[in-house]
Symmetry: C2
Subunit: 473 residues, 2 copies
């Protein structure tokens, strides 16, 4: 990782870049740049000498080649929804693929869609729906986040349990490598064993090994039969037992299994208009379960079987099956509001950790105890994709406290939480990536053997380290 | 890729290697070596100065470190079931992990099993079954093939449609890198976005980037309800239409969708004792479909719905649903015998190609026409995992011909078949890898940009090119 000094980019280089993309392909207008230089929670504010807006892979290639020749660093940016600062330039050329937003092809025999990097997740969903198929990745930011960013950060979301992260959904990518060469990998193949899987290296590389310009992505059958339920459990441990039972009972029909604490549900009920208590009684923890199937009535039957058995075994105290799509949406609104509903409550330390599923309960218990001992009065909101071992562990300032002193403890708080995640055999970044926020910190936790291997790979592909130089190792 | 000259390995190096593994950890006994030097179809015969049989990752690390220090090339070998020669040494040290066959851990909360590289697929299946879980990869060679080889070749098999290849089933690996360092990556995490995914680089690398010594692998719920059927279609094109219908009707329950030509079925009926015609009438093509579900009766109902609809739409001419496990096994025996049943018919050119699903019919038609024009009288046996676009396209000598002249045309035949696969946007190796057989040929088809990137990565991790030097690029 390069140091933090802002790079100097000469006007000759800027002129060269402008010539590559033409009049409509760049901007230095502060008003145009501003939304791309601020992270949405306002945690990072960046700077760039120029915003480049190429329209074709040929232009991206020419940009990167010129940058390589002149050792000019580049920060690629997707929909600017990242949470770890990886998309915010600090003097680098800012490369946005927002003008590359074509759906190049859709094929239902292959169940493949080929989309350019600037296509939003919502637009991709629409394009899949238009041919009677499903693209299964779901994120709250779907209206803004783009295919390029989703691939570069290996995005996850709420349906990973059934469909996997982006890593599992990409069949091939077109990408401009750090020397400007184009990797033409838009394959529609399900199987191809002819050398290293370059796309897997680019997925999750946070823009350090090249710029993804388009991707071929898997489509799935739409599953019309769908059932959503909420269930009350007394602890994360019980949630895991319920997860196991649901996997056994449903045979792969579980799409989402999301845990929420009472604190998070209470914030949603307070701050999100239209939400209401999902179960008769408040519960210390609740789980949202969604099942989907092609067979009419199958998920309602499976969900009923699951909840009856769970009640009989004492795993759950209460449950409610959504009786309409509106009710299902209302259940999901509580889950999707877990992050936004914290905002009125003041400053928060946010952590995106994963552990093995079997260690989630240990982690939540130990981390909650530790942060409350470190900063008395803090309010923990733990929620997330428990089926993937992924917990968003957020720590809010004390109810009557101020933001500033809480913010001041953020790094120490993160250290405590991350240390515990690692003791639970976990990861300090489940789905957000490392960005500029966690890259240095990650060195504390990553095995030096792995870091050395990653550095060697990066140096091999980007010897001048022009691609997102402040990110990763 | 290094040249083909046999390397010289000094007796000092051999003594050093012997010292690392101790008396029971090596052999130079020709009888002990012989089975590991011959490919099972007898297409390659190798040579090695020593067979090393380490028992621990520490020993593997010491072996590789000594080899790196002395520039001694290594060929790793799993169960010696490979079909492209990648496991056969030609003067290199032969490294077998057959003594590393512990199941290190099984955890049903995490649905993870941690197995050493020498564990056979059959033993892994047994260990999963013992805890009520499923490891879904299925291959005919399960009694011999090992975890290390399955990972290094990104094995596929008959359940890829539902569960993916090894690439989708590995959560983490322990591997000795080419400098002797150990990558301790036996994670049980479903999500981890903290840098490049090193395991994905090792999967399918055919032993060129390190030696996989153990892996953490995903387990799944066992699906008790299972239905197998055979259906008669008139062409591969109809098979694709049936595949689409089956995906729509079953909602992910299809585990296998295997196409067979009449020629292949006829050979199975002739040469495999106990097999019988699966349908009332011989059909030019038949499809084997397997569905699985957790819900009793669900797959029989879905299969009936599918076949009724397919009959009504004229997609299939006839179908039979297996009425017992014995009958299901009999159906599978015909599919699994497609390769072995060719042997009595004489010499064959074998091709393991993939195309997009939508191009399978084009490929089979064009390739059949082309090989029959090139070598009149040859008999084509095309079969495989049509749901993944993977066709094993085998070309047998004319019925009354001799083996030798057919063998002599093998490379030209492969060229014809592979050119057509590439014109159909395909791959010349769907699941077997490149090995020594196809690595040079692959250079004809791979984009030089990709080859350059792969060479750069390889040079970064194995600058002395000691790991399986004659394989890949």
């Amino acid at each position: 990782m390069a140091d933090d000094a802002s790079p100097h980019i000469s006007s000759a280089v800027l002129d060269g870049l402008k010539a590559v993309v033409g009049e409509s392909g760049w901007s230095q207008d502060p008003d145009r740049l501003e939304p791309k230089l601020v992270e949405w929670r306002d945690r990072w504010h960046g700077a760039t000498p120029i915003l480049l807006l190429p329209k074709t892979v040929v232009e991206v290639s020419a940009i990167v080649r010129l940058c390589a020749e002149t050792r000019t660093p580049i920060t690629p940016q997707g929909g600017n929804t990242g949470l770890v600062g990886g998309q915010i330039p600090k003097g680098e050329v800012l490369l946005s693929l927002e003008k590359m937003r074509a759906i190049r092809a859709v094929n239902t025999d292959d169940d493949v869609i080929i989309a350019e990097a600037g296509v939003t997740l919502a637009a991709l969903h629409d394009a899949a729906t238009a041919v009677g198929r499903l693209f299964p990745l779901n994120l709250a930011s779907e209206g803004s986040c783009t295919i390029g960013g989703l691939i570069s950060t290996n995005a996850g979301g709420t349906a990973v349990l059934r469909y996997g992260t982006m890593r599992a959904l990409v069949l091939g990518v077109e990408a401009v490598l750090p020397n400007g060469d184009v990797h033409h990998g838009l394959k529609r193949l399900r199987k191809d064993n002819t050398g290293y899987d370059l796309k897997q290296l680019l997925i999750g590389a946070e823009g350090t090994l090249g710029v993804v310009t388009a991707a071929s992505l898997k489509l799935f059958s739409r599953l019309a039969d769908r059932t959503v339920a909420m269930a009350a459990v007394t602890s994360p441990k019980q949630a895991i037992a319920l997860l196991n039972l649901s996997k056994a009972v449903s045979g792969g029909a579980v799409e989402a299994f999301e845990l929420m604490s009472r604190q998070g549900v209470a914030f949603a009920l307070t701050h999100m208009p239209g939400t209401r208590e999902p179960l008769a009684q408040p519960s210390p923890w609740i789980v949202l379960i969604e099942m989907a199937s092609a067979e009419t009535g199958a998920t309602a039957a499976a969900m009923e079987r699951l909840l009856e058995q769970a009640l009989a075994e004492g795993l759950i105290a209460d449950a409610a099956i959504a009786q309409s799509e509106a009710q299902a949406k209302a259940f999901w609104a509580i889950r999707e509001g877990q992050s936004a509903a914290q905002k009125p409550e003041g400053a928060a330390w946010k952590h995106d950790v994963a552990t093995p599923v079997s260690r989630i309960a240990d982690f939540i218990e130990a981390a909650t105890t530790a942060v409350q001992a470190f900063a008395p009065g803090v309010r923990v909101v733990a929620f997330g994709h428990v089926g993937d071992g992924n917990i968003h562990f957020d720590v809010l300032r004390p109810e009557k406290g101020d933001d500033a002193p809480h913010d001041a403890l953020r790094d120490q708080g993160a250290r405590i939480v991350h240390d515990i995640a690692m003791r639970c055999e976990g990861s300090i970044s489940a789905e957000h990536g490392l960005g500029t926020m966690k890259s240095k910190e990650a060195l504390r936790y990553k095995d030096p053997v792995d870091v050395a291997a990653m550095r060697a790979i990066r140096a091999a592909l980007d010897p001048l380290q022009i691609m997102n130089p402040r990110v990763l190792f």
